[in-house]
């Protein structure tokens, strides 16, 4: 399927999003809420582009991450209009994460005016929703957005330690603005108001996961049976393979 991407003819796969096409073609589009593991959410609206499908008179604005290409189309990823939208979005998001280097860099790049900071909870959270998706993919859904409108925030139910949370920290690791606080000391990890015992790798002794996470993984798969950290697991696997050969 032919797509005219910024004036150049490109081949897109049917059902592919504009963003995926752009990533493949190395056309840069800024995003906050997109992750290749989950696809687009259409939440941050940074990836707005102009698209005109075959038969349409005028180009329309669309979020590149959720717009799926099913027909020949013309796509423009940079224009005054797009620039203006991204500037406003960066201006509005930077208020939530004033100290974050990524937003600072984008604010400079788009010459976004400075507005007074907004105190968010967790601090620096831009509500991209990636943490929710990561937790959901883990099969736990221990965190979700609560409230709506300008009071919306990410939390465990009633802000209490969640029975579902296994302390895997997938949420904290995926967070683009490092907003989810996680403390590790004395063989304990504290995250989302809950304390977890950290388990050491039986080979190298590095604390690599929480007891709950390991138990959960054992339940779901063979992974985690050996109590090995990521790199030791690879090493032992390599040794096994080598011995086999």
């Amino acid at each position: 399927m032919k797509i005219k991407l910024n004036g150049k003819e490109r081949e897109a796969m049917p059902g592919e999003s504009i963003l995926e096409l752009c990533k493949r073609e190395n056309v840069p589009i800024p995003t906050f809420c997109y992750h290749q593991a989950f696809g687009g959410q259409g939440a941050c609206r940074m990836c707005m582009v102009e698209v005109r499908e075959e038969g349409q008179k005028e180009a329309r604005l669309a979020a590149a991450c959720t717009y799926l290409l099913n027909r020949e189309a013309e796509v423009i990823t940079e224009s005054d209009r797009i620039q203006r939208i991204r500037r406003t979005i960066v201006m509005l998001l930077k208020r939530r994460a004033a100290g974050d280097p990524i937003l600072k860099e984008l604010a400079d790049a788009y010459a976004a005016p400075d507005l007074e900071a907004v105190v968010t909870e967790p601090e620096n959270c831009i509500l991209c929703g990636l943490c929710i998706h990561a937790c959901e993919e883990m099969g736990k859904s221990a965190i979700w957005s609560m409230f709506r409108g300008i009071d919306k925030r990410i939390a465990t139910p009633y802000d209490e330690a969640s029975d579902d949370c296994i302390g895997c920290a997938a949420c904290a690791r995926i967070c683009p603005t490092h907003a989810i606080s996680m403390e590790e000391k004395d063989s304990k990890r504290i995250i989302w108001n809950k304390s977890f015992e950290l388990v050491a790798c039986r080979r190298c002794g590095k604390e690599y996961a929480t007891r709950e996470e390991i138990e959960y993984l054992k339940e779901r798969s063979d992974y985690g049976q050996e109590n090995l950290c990521e790199s030791c697991r690879k090493k032992t696997l390599a040794i096994t393979v080598k011995n086999y050969i």
Binding site: A43, L93, R95
Partner: protein, 611 residues
């Protein structure tokens, strides 16, 4: 003094309005009192009828009681009036004057609501049965052409003919978007897949709007019949009615109606002995305004968080559970049986070139007759507000009318002659929305109005996308600053920039229209913003931080009305003596300003006085 009317008929029916408004005012007590009084008179039958709340603007005065076939309407009826109504009116044929409506202009007592301007100038299609039938009795609906359209469609039309009729009628979605219903149905019919769904959107959430509630409460079968016809047209076998959780009576009446439609063979397997089967399920919403947005509504039915998604693929292709779905609003469905039964031409004969039929408006605010008003598309705002609505309350001057719910806009007096339809309102910077019309007088501060609506949206946006959530937050901060006298001129430009991005980049229609209250007031009432910012003055005397009140000694007659109204005891003055306001005690609620009949209470500038 009572007037003699013609001798009574042998069989009479009393209709007691039991809509939400009248029920709140004691309609059930009236109903019970009439019923027990009538136990001795088996020749008279009492029927409780749910009538559209506020439909004639009389609900505020209490329960309405109608007596047919003589067509008598009594307002503000109390349980203790039951004896008199039965003894005098029913048995002796005497009208009880004090219970009749008195026309504010002619001062005449009118025997029936049908004689009032408010009612005479309306054209009822969607509301045709409201107040005329008992919604709990399917027989009432059947007597008024009920399920005749379904019979006609199943026996004489194929599904494409049904769609063609809706297309030819030019019916556009009454929920706000105004998308042609026939085209939507066609797209769903053409979509591949065996499983398709029909949804009725009854999640009416606009403050002050209650047209959908009235229809669901007062005429549930018309909604059901419309949906069955839609299902037949697109090939759906299952439907949902999504009702706002607060609408208890609507849920009750719809539930009863679904049950009755089943037992009469209008729902379920092989409807009316045809090959077509269809069923309807009721779903109660969770109370979020955003669930009126169709993709959020479907997410809610599916049990997910009520957040919208991008609609680059329409619900007619991928809707509920990923299947092709037609979703229309209550009022849209209510029009369908009429269109199918009486044909497209009759429907299209009413309205404007691009907006056919009628629209129900809920006329509220500073207007004499509040209530539900159904008028042909293209009726001017002036006709609605002045001829039907009876003009602005207390003869104050008209300032603006807010249309289309919280994300609608404010239309000024200069556009009162605008013929109202989907396109004209959008061009004027507002929108049809679900049909709210809130009349504002000169005591309304337009900056505060914008702030009020943005504040509503701040709590009701789903908060998923950046432009809507953060844009609303920024607008609310700026508007609050302006109302508090801390606005800056450059804020106006900033607001316009933010509004533009919200319109262009928001995920759903809520975010895209959320700037309307700000943009429309900036467009038509910019001077007022500038007064607030530059002169720290609120011309309407609403913004407390910018307002003081004083009494003009020349005009004050010493009537003491303001003294009685002042909750802060800040006004001093004896009868027939000039009053004074103690500024340090005054909480600036503006009550004195509003009640003074002699314009003696005047607005002062806060700065001016402080200096």
């Amino acid at each position: 003094m009572d007037m003699i009317i013609k001798a009574h008929d042998d069989r009479q029916t009393i209709l007691v309005c039991c809509g939400t408004g009248c029920t709140a005012n004691g309609a059930r007590d009236v109903f019970n009192a009439l019923q027990s009084k009538l136990k001795d008179h088996p020749d008279i039958e009492v029927l409780p009828v749910v009538k559209a709340t506020g439909c004639n603007g009389w609900c505020e005065k209490g329960p309405l009681v109608r007596i047919i076939p003589r067509d008598i309407t009594y307002c503000s009826v109390k349980a203790q009036d039951a004896d008199e109504i039965v003894d005098k009116t029913l048995l002796e044929g005497i009208l009880i004057k004090r219970l009749l409506y008195r026309d504010p202009v002619s001062k005449e007592h009118l025997a029936s609501h049908h004689l009032t301007d408010f009612y005479r100038k309306q054209h009822k299609i969607a509301l045709r049965n409201i107040g005329e039938i008992d919604p709990a009795q399917i027989s009432d609906y059947l007597e008024r052409e009920g399920y005749q359209a379904l019979k006609k469609a199943l026996q004489k039309m194929d599904s494409q003919e049904v769609i063609d009729t809706v297309k030819a009628a030019g019916l556009r979605g009454r929920g706000g978007g105004g998308f042609p219903a026939g085209n939507k149905w066609q797209a769903c019919r053409n979509a591949s897949g065996q499983e398709k769904y029909i949804i009725c959107n009854g999640d009416e959430g606009d403050p002050g709007a209650f047209m959908d509630r009235s229809i669901m409460e007062g005429d549930p079968h018309t909604v059901i019949e419309g949906m069955i016809l839609g299902a037949y047209a697109v090939g759906a076998s299952h439907g949902y009615i999504y009702v706002r959780d607060e609408y208890d009576l609507a849920v009750q009446n719809l539930g009863q109606a679904i049950k009755d439609a089943h037992s009469h063979g209008y729902l379920g397997n092989r409807i009316m002995d045809s090959d077509f089967s269809f069923d309807i399920e009721l779903v109660r919403g969770g109370g979020a305004f955003v669930c009126g947005e169709e993709t959020a509504l479907m997410a809610s039915i599916e049990g997910r968080t009520g957040e919208p998604r991008d609609k680059y693929v329409y619900p007619t292709e991928k809707g509920l559970w990923g299947k092709p779905t037609v979703i229309n609003n209550v009022e849209t469905w209510a029009n369908i049986p009429v269109i199918i039964l009486h044909g497209a031409e009759a429907f299209a004969a009413v309205g404007t070139e691009n907006s056919k039929g009628t629209k129900v408006f809920s006329l509220v605010g500073k207007v004499v007759n509040t209530g539900l008003v159904e008028v042909p598309m293209g009726t001017t705002l002036r006709e609605i507000i002045y001829e039907i609505g009876g003009g602005v309350l207390k003869k104050r001057s008209f300032k603006a009318v807010q249309t289309g719910g919280p994300s609608g806009g404010c239309i000024p007096a200069s556009l009162l002659d605008l013929p109202v339809d989907f396109d004209s309102l959008t061009e004027a910077g507002s929108m049809m929305g679900s049909g709210g019309l809130i009349v504002m007088d000169d005591h309304t501060c337009m900056v505060e109005v914008a702030r009020y609506y943005v504040n509503f949206l701040a709590g009701e946006s789903c908060g998923k996308c950046t432009p809507c959530r953060e844009g609303i937050r920024a607008l609310l901060e700026i508007l609050t600053d302006i109302c508090n006298g801390q606005g800056r001129m450059e804020d106006l430009q900033l607001m316009e920039d933010i509004c533009l991005t919200m319109q262009e980049a928001s995920l759903c229609a809520l975010g895209r229209t959320a700037p309307n209250p700000v943009l429309s007031t900036l467009r038509y009432f910019r001077d007022e913003y500038i007064e607030h910012i530059k002169n720290h003055y609120c011309p309407a005397g609403v913004c407390r931080e910018l307002t003081t009140f004083y009494i003009d000694p020349e005009k004050c007659t010493g009537c003491t009305l303001c003294v009685k109204q002042c909750s802060a005891d800040a006004i001093k003055g004896e009868k027939k003596q000039v009053h004074t306001i103690n500024e340090s005690e005054c909480i600036r609620c503006g009550e004195c300003y509003r009640v003074c009949a002699f314009d003696a209470v005047q607005l002062g500038r806060r700065d001016h006085h402080e200096n």
